[in-house]
């Protein structure tokens, strides 16, 4: 009798747990978890396994650490890492500065005009990267008829072999990064700027603060979490850069623009050396994770989320 009473008490409790939000939460999380497991975790685990193999569709062979050893002994890998670091150092801070400056210029405008500028700056993010590259190839035309060369001619400078010379190829890719695709960062900065309490500005104005003082003492500190976020994601994106080098220079001349992403792509899809490509991808992952940790350690200490 007592047992029966116990069962009667337990059963409705179980049903309540499922009926409540907890059960649904688990169900929804499960969907995302399965997608994550299939499309993120599984490929990463696969890449880890493949990195110890000589991959063949009809049966891979285990070769231990050979792919890692080959990678570390490959001078082109280190050159590509160096190129990627140079590209990152030159593009990410300038891109952040430009995005910030544009956001500051847009924020005082009326809502309609603000939206127009947001759309204009976001447009390159919507446009196909291939189409943009074609436009840039036209701009970087090395002959005297090239757009950029015609601009130089106005100042009496002879035509430059923008993408064909080791001296200017990397700069050309950097210039391309500087002048395009700031839309996402601008919108994030604008959202963050709108989130700053207006009372700070009012107090500063009462104290007679100038525009630059308000920028330095209010805006920049308040935007630090946003800047850190954009910096970390920017560095990660920059380390994974592939498209620009692939479409604009193919990594040349003399591997001056071979980025590590392009090298991995070539090893995987040009030479079918998936094992080495997987090893290089994992090494890149470790490098990116290390740099991100350093960024958080030095820049994220006083950031509140």
């Amino acid at each position: 009798m007592a047992q029966l009473a116990k069962t009667q008490i337990v059963k409705p409790a179980k049903r309540r747990r499922w009926k409540g939000d907890g059960g649904w939460a688990y169900a929804f999380i499960a969907v995302a978890l399965i997608v994550y497991a299939m499309f993120t975790a599984y490929p990463v685990v696969s890449a880890f396994i493949i990195s110890f193999q000589e991959y063949r569709p009809l049966g891979s062979v285990f070769i231990g650490f050979d792919n890692y050893v080959n990678t570390f002994q490959d001078s082109l890998f280190w050159k590509s890492i160096k190129n990627t670091i140079v590209y990152t150092v030159l593009t990410v801070p300038v891109s952040l500065f430009l995005s910030f400056a544009v956001a500051i210029l847009i924020i005082p405008l009326k809502k309609g005009l603000q939206t127009t500028f947001k759309a204009v700056y976001y447009l390159p993010a919507v446009a196909s990267g291939v189409a943009l590259s074609v436009v840039w190839l036209w701009i970087f035309d090395p002959m005297t008829s090239g757009v950029l060369n015609q601009l130089l001619a106005v100042f009496g400078i002879s035509n430059q072999n923008w993408l064909g010379s080791s001296a200017s190829a990397m700069f050309s890719l950097v210039l391309m990064a500087w002048l395009s695709s700031h839309g996402t960062s601008i919108i994030i900065y604008l959202a963050a700027l709108l989130g700053i309490d207006g009372s700070y500005y009012e107090a500063a104005e009462l104290d007679g603060a100038s525009f630059l003082q308000k920028l330095w003492y209010i805006v920049i500190p308040c935007l630090k979490p946003t800047t850190l976020f954009l910096l970390v994601t920017g560095v990660i994106g920059s380390f994974q850069v592939f498209q620009n080098a692939y479409l604009m220079t193919g990594g040349g001349p003399d591997n001056a623009t071979t980025m590590v992403g392009l090298l991995i792509f070539n090893n995987a899809f040009k030479y079918f050396e998936f094992g080495e490509a997987a090893a290089q991808s994992l090494i890149l992952t470790v490098i990116i994770a290390g740099i991100s940790l350093i960024q958080f350690k030095f820049l994220g200490n006083d950031v509140e989320y």
Binding site: V31, P57, N161, L163, G164, G252, P253, Y271, F272
Partner: protein, 487 residues
């Protein structure tokens, strides 16, 4: 209401997940029928061989080989089905840009199409992966003997035959008839007897037209941007006693002193002012534009089909058609041979593309293999080959193709036809004896050392000697001191 919304949201999320999962696991309807040879008959390969009337589907991944090629797919499928009523040819079109990526993805997933149209230089890559189907034992004698031996050799690797050739194109150079004659070049004689580098160098100097310090017309412009740099060097070194990356003794050839001489010649032509100093950035589209707009006398590389392209643009100019190349002039395209170096015999650089046969993860049945061979032969011979090659202005390389082409008319310059025939007479022979591993190493070295260094040489950032030393050092690293030519 809240519960209903939760259920609805969950169902939608689940639907999204199932869509993603089904996309991952989906197989095209025909893939079951194709590569694995699972044609609904699960008998053993030997037993299947006899059942030639069983239904089967053959898949083919084909790019726009010629201008009208892809628009003929429906006709090709129905013609094949009329010939073999039990067989279905299912053609999947792909752009040239997508072709390699699509094929590579399918190959690496273990489910390639039965047939793909690729360059014969790609065969070794897929052989190394074990994903090509050797049809040597399945192709009939009639099929094999239909093709000219030279192009057919390109479809071989080691002892295996991995498809049928569609055409054999000569990589030549092309000249503007008016400019050649203005520069006093006897192009008819050159077409017949060829020219040495020294003669060529003088000729392209004469082709240069300057206004003050500005060059209005160059003597010679070759596309060298990116991977096209490979074509430029390859076309030259073949005429300098190095027809392949390995000599007959399988020693790496590009460490020969002749290689250095060719590199010096590459630099000389730019330093002379006969070629633009920005050559390293000139891509295929740019140099063709320069040719049609009168900015160069000779262009490279030149394929026979360029005569067709030039003729079409001439027609547009005549009809005042706005789609003609902006700023272009009427051009009569003349096929010219590549100059020879250091007294070496001329060797024409050729490209053989064709219908390559693939296998899936499962061993194909003998019956399916035979059906794939029928489809590959159908595409590479007879009416299909004749139509395609005529469209490309390419020479016919099969007897059935030549016969089918007899009734078709092509508007070609007879001098160019004869010049191409002469070039084909000393076409670079195929080298199926080069082991796959050696070939793969040479290709990677070409991509990672030769092309980057050539780009630097063209940009005047390194000397020919520095490039030669870099290539030699990489060759020793890859093939050893004893594995290279030391002359």
């Amino acid at each position: 209401m809240k519960r209903k919304m939760q259920v609805l949201a969950f169902v939608l999320a689940l639907f999204m997940l199932l869509t993603a999962l089904s996309a991952c696991g989906s197989k095209s309807g025909n893939s079951e029928n194709s590569n694995g040879g699972n044609t609904g008959n699960d008998a053993s390969p030997t037993a299947d061989a006899g059942k030639s009337e069983a239904k089967d589907t053959i898949t083919a991944l084909l790019p726009p080989v010629s201008g009208h090629y892809q628009s003929n797919f429906k006709q090709m499928e129905s013609d094949f089905n009329a010939l073999y009523p039990n067989l279905t040819l299912k053609i999947e079109p792909a752009s040239w840009e997508d072709m390699t990526q699509k094929l590579d993805t399918q190959v690496n997933a273990g489910s390639p199409p039965d047939i793909a149209f690729i360059g014969s230089d790609g065969i070794s890559k897929y052989v190394q992966q074990g994903m090509l189907m050797d049809i040597k034992d399945t192709a009939t004698t009639e099929m094999v003997s239909d093709f000219d031996p030279a192009p057919l050799e390109y479809m071989k690797n080691g002892e295996g035959l991995f498809g049928f050739p569609a055409y054999m194109e000569v990589h030549a150079i092309g000249g503007n008839k008016e400019y050649l004659e203005a520069a006093g070049i006897d192009w008819k004689n050159v077409q017949k007897n060829g020219w040495t580098f020294e003669e060529f160098r003088e000729a392209i100097k004469k082709g240069v037209v300057k206004e003050g310090d500005v060059t209005k017309r160059y003597g010679f412009v070759f596309a060298t941007s990116g991977v096209t740099a490979k074509d430029y060097l390859n076309i030259l070194i073949k005429n300098a006693g190095m027809p392949a990356s390995f000599n007959k003794d399988l020693k790496y050839a590009y460490t020969s002193k002749n290689y250095l001489e060719v590199l010096k010649a590459v630099r000389l032509m730019i330093d002379d002012g006969s070629m633009p100093k920005e050559l390293s950035s000139v891509d295929a589209g740019k140099r063709w534009n320069m040719f049609l707009t009168g900015q160069t006398m000779i262009t490279g590389k030149g394929l026979a089909t360029f005569e067709n392209n030039a003729n079409q643009n001439n027609e547009k100019l005549k009809a005042n058609d706005g789609s003609a190349v902006q700023g272009s002039i009427p051009v009569e395209y003349i096929v010219l041979p590549v100059p020879t170096f250091l007294g070496e015999e001329p060797v024409s650089s050729t490209v053989v593309d064709g219908y390559v046969t693939f296998r899936g993860k499962k061993e194909p049945t003998a019956e399916h293999k035979a059906n794939v061979v029928k489809a590959a032969y159908f595409l590479a011979s007879g009416k299909v080959a004749a139509t395609t090659n005529n469209d490309l202005f390419a020479a016919h390389i099969s007897k059935s193709g030549r016969e089918a082409a007899e009734s078709m008319t092509v508007n070609r310059n007879p001098d160019n036809v004869a010049a191409v025939e002469t070039l084909l007479s000393h076409a670079n022979p195929a080298r199926p004896d080069i082991p796959v591993e050696l070939g793969a190493k040479a290709i990677k070295m070409e991509d990672e050392v030769i092309i980057p260094k050539l780009q630097a040489l063209l940009a005047n950032e390194i000397s020919p000697e520095e490039m030669y030393e870099a290539v030699k050092a990489a060759a020793i690293k890859n093939f050893g001191e004893d594995g290279i030519v030391n002359d």
